[in-house]
């Protein structure tokens, strides 16, 4: 499978006065299409800086970052804005949605930004939101939704414009346990279904149960890469034990099958159940 994300000895060094901080140090990672990766590590390990570089929000000090074959480290800021808009989908920890746009308008925003908003785009946005259980909330404003619903809208927005890479920064931070598991499961299902590369920064090791690969960072370096499903499951269990007082309360939710082909213009991904 094709590498959507590839970093080559990428470093990010911050210099403040006489202090030099290596937030990311010689990191090499690869993420393929259809692969969902968790980027984990303690606070200050460099995972958010790494995410910012992968998101074309921050240029590396050294090394190279390739997303969908394009070298971001050589890209000018203006081009990076366009690249982000077209190739990357985002879910943030907070302030995810535009407060004065409805649920549907928030999702359609990515199509409008890319000048791809049309009737078909509108139908796809409605379809995706309906699949995420938000069919009756299309015209609600974000402040009329629960935290979990907001996060699902954000997931829909991150995918609607058919990006190569979907990034999530602590998507479960503001959710209760049940909604956190649901959100990540949905995220994982859609990434696999639509053959996207997905990277999620998280503190919560329990979420590892939904990913294909775990990249552990420590002091700016890649400390460990786990791809073995058994090891990933063990890591998720360890995370569960850490929070043992909180039982897993969730019933896995069934994502309804897509009625429309998800994206037009690319190889159509068969929807779940097809």
């Amino acid at each position: 499978m094709q590498n959507i994300v590839e970093t080559k000895s990428v470093s990010k060094i911050y210099e403040t006065g006489e202090m030099t901080i290596k937030a990311v140090d010689q990191a090499n990672i690869q993420v393929k299409a259809g692969q969902f990766v968790a980027l984990v590590g303690p606070s200050g390990s460099g995972k958010t800086t790494m995410l910012a570089m992968l998101a074309a929000l921050l240029g590396p000090t050294e090394g190279q970052v390739f997303i969908a074959g394009q070298d971001l480290s050589r890209m000018k800021e203006k081009n990076r804005v366009v690249f982000r808009r077209q190739n990357i989908g985002f879910t943030f920890q907070a302030n995810n949605l535009v407060p004065y746009l409805t649920v549907l308008e928030n999702v359609e925003l990515m199509l409008r930004l890319n000048n791809k908003y049309d009737k078909q785009g509108h139908m796809r946005a409605v379809e995706l939101l309906e699949r995420l259980g938000l069919g009756d909330r299309l015209n609600n404003l974000p402040n009329q939704l629960s935290g979990g619903q907001r996060q699902r809208v954000s997931i829909a927005r991150s995918l609607i414009h058919d990006p190569s890479l979907v990034l999530a920064d602590e998507p479960t931070a503001s959710l209760d346990t049940e909604r956190a598991f649901q959100a990540v499961q949905i995220f994982s299902d859609l990434i696999h279904e639509q053959n996207k590369a997905g990277i999620m920064v998280t503190h919560d090791l329990r979420m590892a149960r939904y990913v294909d690969k775990v990249i552990q960072m420590m002091d700016g370096r890649i400390a460990n890469i786990i791809e073995n499903p058994a090891e990933i499951a063990a890591l998720a269990s360890a995370g569960q034990e850490e929070r043992s007082q909180i039982a897993i309360p969730v019933e896995p939710i069934e994502l309804p099958a897509a009625k429309l082909p998800i994206f037009v213009g690319r190889a159509s991904i068969p929807a779940v159940g097809d």
């Binding site: 998101a55 804005v81 077209q86 302030n95 535009v98 004065y100 409008r112």
Partner: protein, 384 residues
């Protein structure tokens, strides 16, 4: 895209934006009233001089262009008439008095203007006819008098004058009515110069033997554009006179410049307050939106999209506020008592509205700059 974001935000926060438009509307009302007051006061002060059918006025020298202090005689009139390039000269006498009415209308303070019929310095009748005889006790009156006292062409009005220590009453037949011709905040009564000399207030009663003296000469030029050159020529050929164009003349009226500069300063400060209020509102609004702007930039909205959306909101809110304020001002002005000298001309309204519409974007510049400086990294809680 910018328009979409701007309009959606305004529409979904109608209450907040409408309230702010109301603040701009109130500032507009204040600015327009000050502008209208400045125009009204200026008109009341200068209307007669500003509408004169002449290009230059000749004053006695050393009176600082004071119409009431200046005294000129026939000798000067003759000399000015002989200056090449002078098409016509009219002597003008100016004084004050009252009109008294028997129909219950209160006494009315007026400016009494004496001029030679057919010469510059008077006023043409818009209704009725112009004055013809230099001796008839006839008058052309300002339409303000006609409106306030209900006087019509053909009526007789009574002019009260203090001569010596006695109150004298003179009946004048209204031959015509002209447009607004206020001078020194009083509507004007135009009479033939010889009649003016007989009925004007004087320290001693006129015996009729004194040589006719008047205040100023109104000069029409063969080439109206050559005012500067002709003023110099008249001053060089006629002794003891000072010549000025109409604008210089009314700007020299007592208190005129001080009054106008006071009102213009008030207008300037009100506009400055407007800039600060608009700037403050959009600054606070943008500060509240910083995380949201960061998120928008992170997902791919360009700086120009975000900046333009802020500019569009500022322009929309300002234009709506100014139009609302203008409408409110015009409605309010209909209900104002007659005595308040507020006057709205198209030029005054347009200038004030334009200045108000310009201050919106100026006030919002800081917030646009702030919006442009927000880093998309903020969406991840980082900064460069």
């Amino acid at each position: 895209m910018s328009f979409y974001l701007a309009i959606k935000e305004v529409w979904r926060n109608k209450g907040r934006f409408f309230l702010f438009s109301l603040v701009i509307a109130l500032i507009t009302v204040l600015v327009l009233f000050i502008a209208g007051l400045a125009e009204g006061l200026a008109t009341a002060n200068r209307e007669y001089l500003a509408k004169l059918d002449a290009q230059l006025l000749v004053f006695q020298s050393d009176v600082k262009l004071s119409t009431l202090t200046s005294r000129l005689g026939n000798d000067t009139l003759t000399k000015v008439r002989r200056v090449p390039g002078v098409a016509a000269v009219g002597p003008v006498g100016l004084s004050n008095g009252n009109l008294v009415f028997t129909n219950g209308t209160p006494d009315l303070d007026v400016s009494l203007v004496g001029f030679e019929p057919g010469k510059p310095g008077g006023a043409s009748a818009l209704e009725g006819r112009d004055l013809r005889s230099s001796r008839a006790y006839e008058t052309v009156i300002d339409n303000d008098i006609a409106r306030e006292a209900g006087v019509k062409v053909g009526d007789t009005i009574t002019f009260k004058s203090i001569q010596g220590t006695e109150e004298e009453y003179f009946d004048l037949r209204v031959a015509g009515i002209t447009d607004g011709r206020q001078y020194f905040f009083q509507p004007s009564v135009f009479v033939p110069l010889e009649v003016w000399d007989k009925i004007r207030p004087q320290a001693v009663e006129s015996s009729g033997d004194e040589a006719l003296a008047y205040n100023i000469l109104a000069v029409q030029l063969s080439q109206p554009a050559m005012q500067v050159e002709m003023a110099q020529l008249i001053q060089s050929q006629v002794a003891d006179v000072e010549v000025a164009d109409l604008v210089t003349s009314y700007e020299a009226s007592p208190g005129y410049s001080a009054q106008q500069s006071t009102l213009n300063t008030q207008r300037g400060f009100t506009l400055l307050i407007g800039i600060l209020v608009i700037g403050g509102f959009f600054q606070i609004q943008t500060l509240q939106k910083v995380p949201n702007i960061g998120m928008l930039k992170a997902i791919g909205a360009s700086n120009s999209t975000v900046g333009l959306a802020v500019v569009m909101q500022i322009v929309a809110v300002t234009v709506f506020g100014v139009l609302l304020g203008t409408l409110g001002t015009l409605l309010l002005s209909v209900g104002l008592p007659q005595g308040i000298p507020i006057q709205f001309t198209q030029e005054t309204l347009a200038a004030a509205m334009l200045s108000l519409m310009i201050i919106g974007p100026i006030g919002g510049l800081v917030s646009v700059r702030l919006a442009l400086k927000v880093e998309p990294l903020m969406a991840l809680g980082l900064s460069s």
